[in-house]
Amino acid sequence: MSFSHYLVDLAKIFVSSSIINNIILIQFLGLCSYIGLTDNMSSSIGMSFAVIFVTVSSSILTWVIDHWILIPSHLQPVLQITSFILVIGSFVGLVQIYLKKASPNLYKAMGIYLPLIATNCIILGVTFINSMNNYDFIQSIVEAIGISLGYTLAMIMLAGIRERLRNSDVPQFFKGKAIAFMVSGILALAFLGFQGMIK
């Protein structure tokens, strides 16, 4: 494959992971934080930055483990799940300890969301998607960036809409979480329009 083909391929992966197969609205991963944290804008932005950082670094880590340890030793089908979740969990813990010590400001902005992330399905989901599609190192990073930007997009959209909804007259039946689900249904409908953009 020539270099320009490779670049086109990367662009395809990026668009497909961030918009066409949006991780929240089309693939339904990470719904807990999506519904739980979009009550206000600042917490959804903080969570999005934490997700971007952890997704990219953990997909680098797990790619190395997958391709240098698990595949050469033929242990991939048996040990993949266990090793991925342990590595991600301990990595997130380490980052949290480091941030607390090294940069309290950054810790305040993003660190409080880190414990939530360790069991977030997006992080683990990205690593499984990478390994299922046999992506190489750069493709995995692009996929991780695309997915986390798609997550940010969906979070910020829903947070903005919910800020407006607070002042509007929602039917009694849909008060609370229900209206957030209905709104995301309509957003998903809009995102469905991107389907078939890449052949």
């Binding site: 693939q27 089908p77 040990l79 342990l86 399905c121 499984f128 299922m132 979480k177 229900a178 249904g185």
Partner: protein, 201 residues
Amino acid sequence: MKKYLKIIWDGISPANPVLIIAIGLCSVIAVSNSVKSALLMTFSFGLVLIPSEIIISTIRKLIPDEIRVPMFVVVIAAFTTMSVLLSRAYFTTIYDVIKLYILLIVVNCIIIGRAEAFAYVHPVVESLFDGIGMTIGYGWVLTAIAVVRELLGKGTLAGIQVLPQSFQPALIMILPPAGFLMIGILVGALETYLRKKGDKK
């Protein structure tokens, strides 16, 4: 015996993990577009939840309090691996469609939640029945949503034509947005019901 039946019943209705506690929604929305995947998902879910609860409850006095969550995760990951390998071997066609969600059972909030809230503080037999109850509770909600979506979206049930050919299927029901809409209506109905119940008291 009555105590055990009550534990199972708790999982089915009063403490239903999906409806009342509203956790683990990711997989419910994602695999509820066909009855077959809903059943396979319930099967794999039970295969992870029940043995994990038994093992965690067996070793609960040996686990130091500070590292209990990593211990839970290791146990759950081991059983998820088994359940993934089993589904891949025996249900290959459905597995290929929903494999991501079966792999992600390992971070399903219901399982870690039950390990922490129930298995860690209850004896083995009660944990076994709690696992069975929670699996049934998860399964019936998932299957009920799947039945509605597949019936309206395709006119079939588990791949068998049920509605007459003249029925025009509403394709939207098996596409992602309908999952959100269904859950929205369900949550709304439930909150209205709880509010009415609260008013009476």
